[in-house]
Symmetry: C2
Subunit: 177 residues, 2 copies
């Protein structure tokens, strides 16, 4: 395997959601290069399907891209947290629903060129209203979208968030394909 050996590592920033490290690495041919790496604990994302065949989605303002995006519910793993536990917690926090069935779909790296972030994706079914504390800080609006309509929105470029595109395409494949 053409791996890159770490020669030196410098912690540039230690934050709440991310840390930043800059590494000096040795390439397979012996040359040196720099790698800028954003450390992230990972996240879980959920495609919650209700009994009418809707995906329960969330609309929220995303400061990095300076606009509101329509996404599937998701959230960052807490230190040492199991991804399934995180999925269950975030589902309640973001949309106020629990689910009797959680099925793992796939896991993937959101952008492996510069960050460690790994996403764990679940389909949640048999939803029920949960009287948990909503995550009010996030100013999230819940929006139900028919699976077929969500699929069309992906094809038309109206869903712009990578994890949501993957979740909708896989759920459509699984449930309608």
């Amino acid at each position: 395997m053409k791996m890159e050996r770490t020669i030196d590592k410098k912690l540039i920033y230690k934050g709440k959601i991310i840390d930043l490290e800059v590494l000096d690495v040795e390439l397979p041919d012996g040359n040196r290069s720099k790698r800028e790496i954003v450390l992230h604990r990972g996240a879980s994302a959920i495609i919650p399907i209700d009994q009418d065949g809707n995906i329960v989605m969330v609309r929220q303002y995303r400061k990095p891209v300076e606009k509101e995006l329509l996404e599937i519910p998701a959230g960052t793993l807490e230190e040492g947290e199991d991804p399934l536990h995180c999925a269950k917690r975030e589902l309640i926090e973001e949309i106020g629903y629990g689910a009797k069935s959680f099925e793992p779909l796939v896991s993937f790296y959101s952008t492996p060129g510069f960050t460690t972030e790994k996403l764990f994706l679940y389909i949640a079914r048999e939803l029920y209203k949960e009287e948990g504390e909503a995550d009010f800080d996030e100013f999230i609006e819940v929006e139900k979208v028919k699976l077929e309509d969500a699929f069309s929105m992906v094809m038309d470029g109206k869903i712009e968030d990578a994890k949501s595109i993957i979740g909708i395409l896989l759920a459509y494949q699984r449930l309608k394909g």
Copy 2:
């Protein structure tokens, strides 16, 4: 729209591929919060389909996740570069092919919770061998995978890179669906 107004902005790091800013923002209810934002110029990614129905993929070591991943060809936009130009350039640099047909599929944010990175996805067809300079620095291995097999690999969790999952699912939908 529930936007977040920037109160203060601090540049923590200015790098080659990414910069890091930490912002103080005012939330819609008047409270304050911090936003850690990784600035990225964006990237283009290509699903190159050859005349035998293979996707021409690349295998490369990704230091942030410390392993080799099988991905579709992609690369970062140069300052002010048009995404289509970038797609054409990266296709030659990474796999040594040009293409007579480039069709835009979708564009999306790779992980909008903490980075500005936007990805522009193209299907490239009518490939031809181009005698350009390969991007030798990246130690990339070219690997042809039948579209059906790539689709199965996504469903089996063997493709772990988000943009590649999206590209393969959309190409499969478009060409086989």
